[in-house]
């Protein structure tokens, strides 16, 4: 499903301009990272995509829907949004019910709900936890429940806010696996993150937000070639990028294998 934002502007009631003319088109099936310092407007932009915020001027289209014509609850059919802190959403007594909450809100049939929940639990490796109290799980377990909750909604677009925060390396690898599976299913994945090492290996396209505008929009490789703009935006380049640049490789590498190929 195509995402299109046309020259959107947004100001919170406190008066500071947070989005200052953002236009972007995201094709179905893209893996897009939104990066930038805190306060650069990346979260605000992401929340425009599922209608939680509506632009003061400009328009956001999700497929043939204009976000301001739909309530956030309706937008949830097209865009799922995984928030950063799992403790701010879990409320059911069982993991299974928690994951079922989204599909139930969307009005899925009982059988459909059961099917989607089981599938999402399998994906996030939570099958064995389905009867547990979600709050009895550790941090990463709770985080995986929130990811499963979003996946069970079967939306064509999923936004992830800091999905790797608090996950250890193993769990991050698992998440990367889920991303590539979703990608193969043709879903659009949008990730807000500071974790450049994760992003460069798992995302196709990077959007850099600065002062409420998109300062740079490029493929992951081209993005990290622009070392000057990265410095002014306070981002730290991934290890592999710094390594390949310091080694004087002609091209930035996005992963270890590529680096070794380029180098030899």
């Amino acid at each position: 499903m195509l995402i299109r934002a046309d020259d959107i502007h947004f100001t919170y009631s406190e008066g500071e301009k947070v989005l200052n003319g953002v236009s972007v088109t995201i094709q179905p099936g893209e893996k897009v990272a939104l990066v930038g310092q805190n306060g650069s407007g990346k979260t605000t932009l992401a929340r425009h995509l599922n209608g939680l915020l509506r632009p003061a001027t400009g328009q956001v289209w999700i497929g043939d829907w204009l976000t301001q014509d739909h309530s956030p609850a309706q937008m949830a059919r097209r865009v799922a949004y995984v928030f950063q802190n799992p403790d701010e959403q879990l409320f059911h007594q069982r993991v299974w019910d928690e994951v079922a909450f989204g599909p139930q809100n969307l009005g899925c049939s009982v059988r459909e709900v059961a099917f989607q929940v089981e599938r999402a639990l399998d994906l996030m490796d939570l099958r064995g936890a389905s009867d547990l109290n979600p709050r009895d799980l550790g941090y990463s377990g709770r985080k995986r429940v929130t990811l499963a909750s979003a996946l069970a909604m079967q939306t064509p677009i999923i936004v992830f806010d800091e999905p790797t925060a608090g996950l250890d390396s193993k769990e991050q690898e698992q998440l990367a696996g889920v991303f590539s599976l979703l990608h193969h299913q043709g879903k659009t994945i949008i990730v807000i993150s500071h974790d450049m090492d994760f992003l460069i290996e798992n995302m196709d396209r990077m959007l850099l937000m600065m002062n409420g505008k998109i300062a740079l929009d490029a493929s992951a490789r081209d993005f990290f070639e622009q070392s000057r703009i990265l410095e002014t935006s306070g981002l730290i380049a991934p290890q592999i990028v710094r390594l390949s640049q310091k080694m004087g490789c002609s091209q930035v590498s996005t992963n270890v294998d590529e680096f070794l190929d380029n180098f030899s």
Binding site: Q37, N38, G138, Y139, S140, A165, G166, L167, D168, S169, K170, E171, Q172, E173, H194, D197, G234, L235, I236, P238, Q239, I240, R242, L243, K246, M247, V256, D257, F259, L260, F263, S264
Partner: protein, 291 residues
């Protein structure tokens, strides 16, 4: 001299069947920066609580073994008595604000007031602590008007004002953005240079690799590795702890098979070591070709 001495420490939380820490033994020398690493649920936070004396005092679990910090046995002294000796900074900056003080300056005073420091002595200690964390200019702000990174620096200052000889940090940068993390790391480096003993649970491996004197790796509540950063971070056993190697280490390791990295050179953990290792091979192989 060992400021921290842990002997046979096993600890089980109340209501839990398996211990969170199992037979932990180590000593930490004064003035060192020791990093504790491990995957989720490995026991890092529990270890920090045990070193701060909050376990066993506040948690009614089962503790075996002995922990002494600055010569004080944690089972014999109360947290109030430890407050001037051991500082603890937690993950979430907002939860560490006392909620009782309206300015940054007064927030730092909170701990001093609790310890009964005289009113005359306070300003110098507060200003010094704020200076150390770079918040001196914001001293009249509300603690709640600060960014997450600034709040975490305030949490540090609040503890530093109590002049602890040991500072425990439980993933202090987990909730901060890169800039905020960088600021906290720089402060820690300065503190260690000034002689403070710092134990930090941290997952930012690149920083640890560069600055830690020693790394203790935990998995399932047990110490699986304890040694220099290069020993620990290049060991295949840290994968067990749920921690991947740094990309530098990975690159060098895979480079061996391709003849890009000498099997005789220790695997690297910093950018400089990696560059040096690859360049060395590059020059030796090119010289070989010439001859």
């Amino acid at each position: 001299m060992a400021v921290i001495n842990v002997q046979g420490l096993t600890y089980t939380y109340p209501g839990s069947t398996s211990p969170a820490l199992k037979d932990i033994n180590f000593q930490i020398e004064s003035g060192q920066l020791v990093a504790v690493i491990g995957g989720n649920e490995a026991g890092k936070s529990t270890l920090c609580l045990a070193l701060s004396g909050l376990i066993p005092a506040l948690f009614h679990g089962q503790m075996q073994g002995m922990v002494t910090v600055c010569g004080m046995d944690t089972q014999q002294y109360s947290p109030g008595q430890f407050a001037g000796q051991v500082g603890l900074v937690l993950q979430n900056p907002a939860n560490q604000l006392s909620g009782m003080r309206y300015t940054v300056y007064e927030e730092v005073a909170f701990g001093l007031e609790n310890l009964g420091i005289s009113r005359v002595e306070m300003p110098a200690r507060i200003e010094n602590a704020l200076e150390q964390v770079g918040l001196a200019e914001l001293c009249d702000r509300s603690p709640y008007a600060l960014s997450g990174g600034q709040q975490q620096r305030l949490a540090l200052a609040s503890v530093l004002a109590l002049t602890p000889s040991v500072l425990l940090l439980d993933e202090p940068t987990a909730m901060l953005d890169p800039q905020g993390s960088q600021d906290v790391f720089e402060i820690i480096q300065k503190l260690v240079q000034a002689g403070t003993t710092v134990v930090i649970a941290e997952h930012h491996l690149e920083w640890i690799a560069r600055y830690a004197d020693r790394i203790i790796a935990l998995a399932h509540g047990e110490v699986i590795l304890d040694g220099s950063p290069r020993e620990v971070l290049t060991s295949s056993r840290i994968q067990e702890a749920g921690i991947n190697w740094l990309r530098y280490t990975q690159a060098a390791h895979l480079g061996i098979a391709r003849g890009l990295w000498s099997p005789n050179t220790e695997l690297p953990i910093t950018l400089e070591q990696t560059l040096a290792g690859f360049r060395q091979m590059g020059t030796t192989s090119s010289t070989r070709q010439e001859t």
